[in-house]
Symmetry: D2
Subunit: 347 residues, 4 copies
């Protein structure tokens, strides 16, 4: 299964083509829409006031309720665009955004309106693709869950077992410790009031993957596969498996996961490895954490350069933006993880 | 340029095939050997006492001092193997190692001697491949450097500018702050005495990449490309770009890199983005940090399971092992980064 | 540049996503439409009476007249569908068609209406993608031309030089010898009257490719690259380069192309190699011939099997079909060749 | 399963790395050597007098008689090289050879000795890789066979059923009609006496592939996959499936394969499609024919150009060469077909 996302924030439509979908799958289209609704903005004061109805249309590869195995295409029409907001920043790249890098890559032929193809809006088709992947995985007993693990330095409590994530699936702000969640929300609202934004982290679990998938080699190792999907999500700047960066503070005796037998099955007592050894699944849940940078769009004035004249100047970003992208990114990270898990399983 | 590493720790030889090497490159074979020597063990009490002479032979794709464009193959003969050391652990997987995952992936047909294809020894051909990549990059003004940024919680000082890494290139234990380096070495020796091991981190820079390479899309974004190469290095469990996990503690105003003009060129004042925005190089040095787990091979007894009988038991790992893999991993991470940089540049 | 075609004959739309299009190309959208019009049916009694307006809409990757480098998506709405025509053949596969193979591949979940994703109609987005490739190639002095080289055993005269194909580009029935062309048309009309169909061949030239592109290796050799694009065109069953199958009748002295100098440039006197030696372009025009099977849809009764009951029975195919697909396939083969040439050039 | 061939004719060794080999396969190493022996020269007056012992050594991915799933590397040491023979042609490319194209691709840094990486000798590792593929396929009931279908215009009789190829597997000159075979041998010897060479064709069958594998789409269609492997064999200039170029002489009523039931299974009465419809296997044997050009190395004088001075001159090729490559190419084509069949089956 391979996905290709197309479209721009202010173009007529955005969408995704999924190649290699297994044929004959009874695809639940409502469930795809439900995943998209989890990502949609405008649902609380924590997110942008922009309305994105994000109605998904399946236009190929789907017939009489089943996948046909032909490329499956899903399209979302664009609307509620304020293209005028962006004219002023056309040649003055916004700090933290892809404007300058994109300008250079496109030799100046960038669709600069609303971030164009770089827009966070392009995560909507990713969620749609991931929703298909999740239905494929469900048939094999694999599920994906996640929680917000940190926002502006406020950490959710440590996850004891992946099962704890199951009840969080329908929450708009999924955390294990509701008190910490409240602190996080306050930090977001404070940043919003200040015309600023905050970053954070998401911990994600893929449970049910059998042992023995992957390889140590380039292009086939599980961590490499997952990271490629995860770094394709805008704003993700760090991917860590299991104990992750914590390994730099550990002894081998602390880090090694002892093998024991549980219910006739070989398992590890701890899961510091995050379900992967030598690039291969070991039968434990695959656990990883991603860090997302603060939303680069902030209301405060920032330093930039006019790319035509080379003149240094100050810019102010207009428009409606998320003070923190993390809550809405939860279903996106889950979607990327589901697509990665399909590749690991050779689907 | 695509690399394929082959071989097992106790087989006749290990090696690598590099496809897509630009033709006509005057390849310095001594420099390849020199990179391998940086990785070789047995040079100090900090590393394993195993001797690995690691003499590299170029057996194809190289003629009269130049690359021909045909697949370039480098082979290293194996020697100094104590295969008997491993018989006892054949069916009792070592915690933290790939033994169990590899056993499942190979349906029991694993070459278990010395880690087989999972052995850290397989990073030698990776360093050789990276040495070729570095010579290709040098022609385009791109260089790669690194330092040990952390060992067992002892942090090197913050890098102010990539140029600081240049003088470290020939040091066996490259750190910016020698005092911190001494503390790190003590931590490693202490772990060694205790029959234990420690983990750590490496910060790496790829300098000289022009702006505009990469794309936001899956399979083409710079962070995704780098991470795939980096996670293919055994023991790497985390990859972070720029401010990395620190973004979870930051405001947008702190995180955004302001644009200014320097010497007629658009640059950013800070480099929190690590040289990448929207999956595209922005002209600043690409900076990332990887975390490596503590060497799983420790002398202390550990819990395991006999895979034939399902019986829980205690194992002790014999043989000579690195108490900390981080120092020897520096040229390996640099090699992986060089290969990734070639892919980013379309070489 | 990589293309992904999606859609079904009787779905809402068909289209193509082109990844890796060079940014900043001034794309002539009218020229894309003109190529599609060359392929469109209903223009003469030689082709199906179906009307396919095939208006192409660029919905991403294109901004202010230029390509942006982001995935370029082109969509064609479907219309004039007679889905009812196909109900009767749902479980009785048409001989020569993909119905049975597709039924097995999709585990019965096939969109059987009008050939679904297997329909010749899906060559419309291929022509659109090829039209973009042609504009990219034109900037490098590369052009593509073709003529009908055979229909039902009637052979066009031998092409002396690729330049002869230039004046044929706007002809609906491009042949070098108009007399032979008239014979071919008669053969097609005769087949049509008999409720039958005929096969034929197309010879195609890609001129202007410099020497030195490609490699002998799997995945990189020029003939392998071209053939992969050409066999992805429905009905193509044979691909031959240069003297092609004629080599089986030749001596080495006849087959070898002597080297001479012409205008200060090394060229070959003959071009039996079809512009490729050892999988690499030699600077001569790349010349190849493809054979296309007769349209499998014929009006005469044919033997089939009911896939539900295993009962053998006779079927009659309704609907409007081309008695010979070759004339309309000319721009399709050119499009496939243009896309292949881009891959050869590393675009 | 992906293969990478490395080495040059006059380098120290040639070989192949096979990635993605299924683990746990009991690999018969003698059978690999036996396939190589079929390809070896020096066995009759029909082939070159060069001796190539071609002893294959498996140096990775194989342990205690089984594949481990790690990259499987096979190496053949070179010997019996007369490098001096080639000095004279270094800058005067041989007509029909890859010398000139290779010179341009390598920017002059070509290993010109004995054809270097372009040498027909590089088909030895391909045969070794194919021998592994054949053992993988055998477990799934798939087998590959072939016969010489034409040499210098002398055609073997038409194959009635794939089963006819089974008894030919150990013959050095496999034909269905021994009388025609004798004529072919005479044509080869006559060419040899004249210092010339002849071309020919091979028809190959892959039997036992189940229906439903492949797709119509680029990169996944069966004919495209096979052709990519086949054109990677030096000297192959044409690939045709089923009736192949004959379709250009046929009516739809002749070309379409009627469906019938045989032994409770849906089959086709004829197999003009060569086992593939719409890019998908239909359960019938995959049948294709390749055409190989006459050996470009001939003893007669030929026209060339000195690449340093641009001077036109006459060259004579020394050394020992096959007057016809077709007989020795039979196991090579079978090997390529076996590797292609593995890809089709997703192995």
């Amino acid at each position: 299964m391979k996905y290709t996302i197309f479209g721009e924030s202010h173009g007529p439509a955005i969408g995704v083509v999924l190649e290699g979908v297994p044929a004959g799958l009874e695809l639940n289209a409502e469930e795809i829409q439900r995943q998209l609704d989890r990502r949609a903005p405008g649902k609380s004061e924590l997110s942008t006031a922009r309305k994105e109805s994000d109605l998904v249309h399946i236009i190929s590869g789907f017939f009489e309720g089943k996948t046909t195995g032909a490329p499956l295409t899903m399209v979302i029409q664009n609307s509620d665009q304020h293209s005028g907001d962006y004219e002023s920043i056309r040649y003055t790249p916004r700090p933290g955004h892809a404007d300058y890098a994109g300008f250079m890559a496109s030799k100046g032929a960038l669709d600069y309106r609303g971030g164009g193809h770089f827009s966070g809006r392009l995560t909507a088709p990713l969620v749609a693709a991931g929703a298909v992947a999740r239905q494929v995985l469900a048939q094999q007993g694999v599920w994906v869950g996640a929680h917000i693990s940190a926002i502006y330095g406020i950490l959710d409590r440590t996850m004891e077992t992946p099962e704890e994530l199951r009840p969080l699936v329908d929450k708009p702000f999924p955390v294990l410790d509701e008190g910490k969640g409240e602190e996080m929300r306050q930090a977001i609202l404070e940043a919003k009031e200040n015309g600023d934004s905050v970053g954070g982290s998401i911990e994600c679990v893929v449970a049910g993957l059998p042992a023995g998938f992957g390889a140590p080699d380039f292009g086939r190792n599980v961590e490499g596969i997952f990271s490629q999907y995860l770094f394709a999500v805008p704003a993700v700047k760090s991917v860590s498996f299991g104990a992750g960066v914590g390994f730099a503070y550990m002894l081998g005796t602390e880090a090694n996961d002892p093998f024991v037998v549980e219910g006739g099955k070989v398992v590890t007592k701890t899961n510091n490895a995050g379900g992967v050894n030598g690039g291969i699944t070991n039968g434990m849940p695959v656990v990883f954490e991603v860090t997302l940078r603060p939303t680069p769009s902030i209301a405060l004035p920032q330093e930039s350069v006019d790319l035509r004249t080379g003149e240094e100047l100050e810019i102010e970003i207009k428009g409606r933006h998320d003070p923190c992208i993390v809550p809405r990114a939860v279903p996106v990270i889950e979607a990327a993880a589901a697509l990665a898990a399909c590749e690991v399983l050779g689907i």
